[in-house]
Structure formats: structure tokens, C-alpha cells
């Protein structure tokens, strides 16, 4: 893991901790990809069929936010051993 330099003591009130710069974890990357696909796909569906109001309401306004919740739950599950510490 590469560490970024930290500020001098006068600037940083808690200099004992460092800020880690790491690559995006795979689970988070997949989560972001899922978010993009779900959002653009759902909006594309709604705008492709502008008269399908029931679809807009049930899928985009009600189901997609619930799916976001499950996506966030899945994407933030600890996948690295040090996460749980």
C-alpha cells in the first residue's frame, strides 16, 4: 500500500493517522458499474416508452430506489480482511 505524505503537526490535528491511496476495490468498481447500468437502463426504458406511466411509477419510482439500497448493501460488504478491524 502506498502512503501519501502527511502534513506537519501544526497543520494536522491528528497526525498519527495517514491517508491511504489505493486502487478502487473490485466490489466497489462493480457496484459503480451496476449503478450506472441500472440508472441509465431504467431511464432509457422510461424515456423510450414515455406513455407507459404505470411502468415509470412501478419500476423507476418504486423498484429502482429499492434496488439501489440492495446494491449499496452488497457493494459495501467488507471484502478486505483489514476492513473489519
Amino acid at each position: 500500500m502506498h502512503q501519501a505524505p502527511i502534513a506537519p503537526a501544526s497543520e494536522a490535528p491528528n497526525p498519527s493517522t495517514t491517508i491511504d491511496v489505493t486502487a478502487l476495490p473490485a466490489r466497489s468498481l462493480w457496484g459503480v458499474a451496476g449503478l450506472v447500468v441500472l440508472t441509465v437502463g431504467s431511464m432509457g426504458l422510461a424515456w423510450r416508452f414515455p406513455d407507459a406511466t404505470l411502468l415509470h411509477f412501478l419500476w423507476v419510482a418504486q423498484a429502482v430506489p429499492v434496488l439501489y439500497f440492495f446494491l449499496a448493501w452488497w457493494g459495501t460488504r467488507p471484502s478486505r480482511p483489514h476492513d473489519v478491524s
Binding site: T22, V40, D51, A61, F69, T76
Partner: protein, 654 residues
């Protein structure tokens, strides 16, 4: 939390009894207001602290569920609690083919929490910082980065804060019957007592209680309206059941000749306004002469004073400055355009799917998602949990609560639409439903009706709904108990107060920690730091209140702008700073500066006031038809690009 939930239920039941016993509605509503504010202030008193770790980050030991509740309350603002239902009701789901529809707000405001959880929450917690500018300053080992980030945080949060305080004033004045200005200062007293005394520790507990109030009030209202309309408590099902009837009624209204004639009259008025705006000096002279004649005739006929005042209220007579007169005409034109372009049902007829509205909606979702993940007062909540995993879990808790409130808001919009289309459209002007008369005549009008084609019947285009706070009239529109008005307003007040609490802390901490102590007294003792933060918090609150009382604002517009600004200023620098080792302080400064400048420029140059002053035209200033609130769609890529290039170029040089 259990205690607050139980107290709220008991209080509501008692007020139901009071309502059945015939206690005046003003007392019931006033009680909700006073009880809410006193309750929040008491929590502030109990949680008072001067310990820096407690004041700034609540001791870093808040559990994931409580932090999630506090984050949800922090995030659910006046705009999203009060405004989203009205927005969906008025603008429909997919918009009018040019501007974004309500679905874009719904998706953007919820999806942003996924980004926050995936990208930032855990990493911020691990840094053990106190403010976002401090975190960035440490990451790039640069006082300049910290200084710039502090000003960025202050700007984004201040815009958001004024809109919240405006919302607080609306709700408090509606509940108490006080003037708007007094309502602002009364409610602000509650905010100050809480955040001033206890900082983040008090704000966390207050926001937890406010979250309970927000969720219970929205759920109770939705269930009650669902029962009223379809006889069961499942609001999503009730809304889905109502939709086919709404669509059938909307189609009927769209082809009604009376509706068509109303729209023709409105179009004619818009053309007249265009002609006036093109030559305002000449038009003002003609209008003034007409007013003089009308007033003289009315006086000769011994007309009532009210009628004379109506003639004299013509802006051409009232406004001494041509600029302000043109502004008044432009506002009237916007209002008329809304009347004919907004959908009767939830979509405009004969809409082509892939249009400018689609692009604007995508752009808005982009800005709202990235803005949610980059708002400083939301990011700072990641510091208050014990571990990174807790910080990420709290984001999931927050999202769950927000989703629940939004499921209610979208269902409520559908259920409310059925009342407007069936009870109000087609009614005689002199026999309006009782609720319409009440909403029209309130001090804070939620509705106005103008009979454009003079046929004595209300057409859909005659109705103007005040989206920003229409939801406060739901109990009256849907004929449910008046207690729900108080409960709903308590929820709206909780939403506005909780967001204002978080914003005030963010601004005062940025001013004290990141600007003053960073530059002037870096070795100041902790107690002095806390005391100065408290004093600045009070000053900022009073300034924001003064600003809100002097300048009526569109809550939703300014809140959306704040999202674009936050996304442009913080998202690129956070993303590159956390996940790319090559990002350096030059890149960070360039990313923040260019993103913020680009968004600010786009919002400012397309603002009607600026356009009028600088003689600009939207055709020249709007890029690819993007709404000004979507400024982040230009600001974020600019910030990312310049942040990357700045870092690369300076690292080569070094």
C-alpha cells in the same frame, strides 16, 4: 430512538383526541411546532459539550444505525421532503420533453448514496480527520488546498443553508400563524440551541430523533391518504390502482375544447408579454395610460377600493425601474409557460422519447448523484463512526430510510393528482371544493386559480400549484384529519432543521478550523477552537436567516445548484486524491478551481437577473440545451481533466 418514536405516537394520539374534541386547528398545529422545537433544544442542552472530539466528530463512536439515521435526516432537506411530491405532481415523471422530469430527482438523490458508500465513506473514516478541507489539506500536504476547499465547502453549504432556512420560515409561519420573518427566527432558535451547545454530538442525537419524526410523519400521511382513496394502507398499490383513472381523466381534459381555449388565451398573453419585453419603455407608457383610464373610470363609478387597488397593482404602474418591470414580465411569462407546458397527467402527450428532456434528465441525475456523494455536510458524517465498516454500513442505513421516504413521496404525488383532476378541474369558479378555497386564501397560498378564458369553469391550465410547499396542503386536499397537517409540518420542520444543523456546523467549522486557526493561530488550544466555532456558528445562522428573510428563493432551484457546485468542487479532487497516487497539490487546486469556476459561470450566466443586466440571451449562453442546474455536467469533467493534466505536467517537471 424508541423513546422518541413512542413520544411521537403518544403525542399524535393525544392531538387526534384534541381534534375530535373540537380544539381549534391553530392550537393543534402550534403545539406540534412548539413541542418540536423545545424537544430539539432539550436534546441540545443534554448533549452540551466543550470537548473538541465530542463537539467536532461526536467522539467517533456513533453506531452505524444511529449515524445512518442522522445522515438521512441531515440529507432529507426541506426541498426533498416538501418539494419532491409537488415536483412529481407538477412536472410529471419524464418531464415536458425539454426539462428534466421528477424521476431524475428521485434517482439522483438516492443513487448518490451508493457512490458515497462505494467510494468515500470508509476512506474518510480511516483518515480520522475533522473536516473535509482538513482531510484534503493532509492528503496533499498543502495549506492552499485546505484553504480553497474550505471556501468551496462554505459556498456550497451556504447556498444550501439559505434554502433550508427559507423552508423553515415557510413551515414555521404556516404552523404558528406568525409572519415569515418571525417564523424563521423562532425556528432558528431551536437549531442554535442544539448545534451551538452540543456541536456534532447534540446534532447527531437530534438528527436521530428528527429522522424518526420525518419517517413517521411521511408514512402516517401516506397510509392515511391510501386508506382514504383505496381503502387499504398499501400506498404503492393504491397509487398503482389510481393511475389508470388518472390517465383516462388526463386524456379527457387534454382534448376538452374549454381547456384548449384556455391554452390559446394563455399563449396570446405570452405573445403580448414578448412584445412588451422587446420594447419595455414604450410598453410601460401604454400600460400606464391604460391604468390611468381604468382607475379614473372606476373612481367615477364609485367602484370599491379593492378594485382600484387591483388596477394599480399592474407592474407597469407599480415598478419605477424598467429592469424590475421587465423582470416582473419575465416571471409572469415563465408562470404562463408552466401553465401550458406541464403535463395534465404524468407525461406530456405525443412526447418523443429521445429528446432534450432525456439529455437534461441524464445530466441532472449525474449532478445529483455526484453532488450527494460530495456534499461536505454529508461527507463529514463518515468521521463520526468508530470504524470504516461502520461508516459504510451507516450509508446503507441512511439510503434505506431515504428510499422509504421517497417511495411515500412518489405515491403521494400520484394519489394527490387524482384529487386535483377529479375534484378541482371542471368545478365552477364560484363553487370550488372547500379545500381549494382554503388553500387559496391562506396567508401562505398553496394554490391559485385564474379563469383565463372567462367561462366560469376551472380548467387544468387555470390552476397554479405552488410545488415548493404544496405537500403541506395534502391533509386538506385529501380530507383527512387536521392533525396530519401538524404532523406533516413537524416532519417538514424536522427535515429543514436537521439539514440546517449539519450545514451550520460544516460552515462554522470550515471558518474556524480551516481558515482562522489554520492561518492565524495554528497552535491554539482546543477549548479556544471549540468556542470560536460556536461563535461563528451563531453568526452564520443569523446571517443566513437575514439573507433568507430578505430574498425569497426557489428552494428546489438553489438546492439543485448546490449539488452541482459540490459535485464540481469536491468530487474530482476526492476521487483522484483517494484512488490515484499521481494526484498532487497542483492537480488538486486545478481540479477544485476549474470545476467550481465552470459550474459557477454556467449557473450565473444563465440566471435571468444576470442575463437582463448583461443583455444576454439564453440561445447564446445555454450549451447543448442543458439546464443551468445541471452545471455540474460541465464542471465535473473539467475538474477531472485539469486535475489529471495538472498533476501529470507538474510531476514531469519535477
Amino acid at each position: 430512538m424508541r423513546v422518541s418514536f413512542a413520544s411521537l405516537v403518544v403525542l399524535t394520539l393525544l392531538l387526534f383526541l384534541a381534534d375530535f374534541a373540537g380544539v381549534p386547528k391553530a392550537y393543534v398545529n402550534g403545539f406540534f411546532l412548539v413541542a418540536s422545537i423545545i424537544g430539539y433544544a432539550v436534546i441540545g442542552l443534554f448533549c452540551r459539550t466543550t470537548a473538541p472530539e465530542e463537539y467536532f466528530v461526536a467522539g467517533r463512536r456513533v453506531s452505524a444505525p444511529l449515524n445512518g439515521m442522522a445522515t438521512a435526516a441531515d440529507w432529507i432537506s426541506a426541498a426533498s421532503f416538501i418539494g419532491l411530491t409537488g415536483l412529481l405532481l407538477s412536472d410529471g415523471f419524464v418531464g415536458d420533453g425539454e426539462h428534466p422530469g421528477g424521476l431524475a430527482y428521485l434517482l439522483g438523490w438516492t443513487g448518490g448514496f451508493c457512490l458515497l458508500g462505494f467510494l468515500f465513506a470508509g476512506k474518510l473514516n480511516r483518515s480520522q480527520s475533522i473536516t473535509i478541507p482538513e482531510f484534503l489539506g493532509r492528503r496533499f500536504d498543502s495549506a492552499a488546498v485546505r484553504w480553497f476547499a474550505a471556501w468551496g465547502a462554505i459556498l456550497c453549504s451556504s447556498i444550501y443553508l439559505v434554502a433550508q432556512i427559507y423552508g423553515i420560515g415557510l413551515v414555521a409561519s404556516m404552523l404558528s400563524g406568525l409572519t415569515f420573518e418571525l417564523g424563521v427566527f423562532l425556528a432558528l432558535g431551536g437549531v442554535l440551541l442544539c448545534s451551538f451547545l452540543g456541536g456534532m454530538r447534540a446534532v447527531t442525537w437530534t438528527q436521530g430523533v428528527q429522522c424518526v419524526v420525518i419517517v413517521v410523519s411521511m408514512l402516517a400521511l401516506c397510509v392515511a391518504v391510501s386508506f382514504k382513496t383505496q381503502g387499504h394502507p398499501f400506498f404503492t398499490v393504491a397509487a398503482a390502482q389510481s393511475l389508470p383513472q388518472i390517465q383516462a381523466r388526463a386524456k379527457q381534459i387534454e382534448v376538452d375544447p374549454a381547456e384548449q381555449s384556455t391554452r390559446e388565451v394563455i399563449s396570446l398573453r405570452m405573445s403580448n408579454l414578448d412584445a412588451k419585453i422587446a420594447d419595455p419603455v414604450y410598453a410601460r407608457e401604454i400600460e400606464r395610460q391604460a391604468v390611468v383610464r381604468q382607475v379614473a373610470r372606476a373612481k367615477a363609478d364609485n367602484a370599491p377600493l379593492r378594485e382600484i387597488q387591483k388596477f394599480e397593482s399592474n407592474p407597469a404602474w407599480r415598478e419605477p425601474s424598467v429592469d424590475r418591470l421587465v423582470g416582473a414580465w419575465q416571471s409572469e411569462r415563465v408562470m404562463l409557460a408552466e401553465a401550458i407546458y406541464r403535463p395534465v397527467g404524468f407525461q406530456v402527450p405525443y412526447l418523443e422519447g429521445w429528446n432534450q428532456g432525456w439529455l437534461n434528465s441524464l445530466a441532472l441525475v449525474f449532478c445529483l448523484m455526484l453532488g450527494t456523494a460530495a456534499l461536505p455536510h454529508i461527507l463529514v458524517r463518515s468521521y463520526t463512526t468508530a470504524t470504516p465498516v461502520d461508516a459504510e454500513r451507516s450509508v446503507v442505513w441512511a439510503l434505506g430510510i431515504i428510499v422509504l421516504v421517497y417511495l411515500c413521496a412518489s405515491s403521494l404525488a400520484v394519489l394527490l393528482k387524482s384529487f386535483v383532476l377529479t375534484e378541482l378541474v371542471g368545478a365552477h369558479m364560484d363553487q370550488l371544493p372547500e379545500w381549494a378555497d382554503r388553500l387559496k386564501l391562506r396567508k401562505l397560498a398553496l394554490l391559485s386559480i385564474q379563469d383565463y378564458n372567462q367561462d366560469g369553469i376551472v380548467q387544468f391550465a387555470d390552476i397554479r400549484l405552488f410545488n415548493d410547499y404544496l405537500v403541506l396542503g395534502v391533509p386538506e386536499i385529501t380530507h383527512i384529519s387536521a392533525v396530519f397537517t401538524g404532523l406533516l409540518a413537524a416532519g417538514a420542520l424536522a427535515a429543514a432543521l436537521s439539514t440546517a444543523d449539519g450545514l451550520l456546523l460544516t460552515i462554522s467549522n470550515a471558518l474556524a478550523q480551516d481558515l482562522y486557526f489554520q492561518t492565524t493561530a495554528p497552535d491554539a488550544p482546543p477549548l479556544r477552537r471549540v468556542m470560536l466555532s460556536k461563535i461563528l456558528l451563531m453568526v452564520v445562522a443569523l446571517l443566513a436567516a437575514w439573507f433568507a428573510t430578505n430574498r425569497p428563493v426557489s428552494i428546489l432551484f438553489w438546492v439543485t445548484c448546490a449539488f452541482s457546485l459540490a459535485a464540481s468542487t469536491f468530487f474530482p479532487v476526492m476521487l483522484l486524491g483517494l484512488y490515484w497516487r499521481g494526484m498532487n497539490r497542483v492537480g488538486a487546486l486545478l481540479a477544485m478551481g476549474s470545476g467550481l469556476s465552470m459550474s459557477l459561470y454556467y449557473i450565473a450566466v444563465n440566471h435571468p437577473w444576470v442575463q437582463m443586466r448583461l443583455q444576454l440571451h439564453s440561445v447564446d449562453t445555454v450549451w447543448w440545451g442543458m439546464d443551468p442546474v445541471c452545471a455540474g455536467v460541465f464542471g465535473v469533467p473539467t475538474g477531472l481533466l485539469l486535475g489529471f493534466l495538472g498533476s501529470k505536467l507538474t510531476s514531469f517537471k519535477n
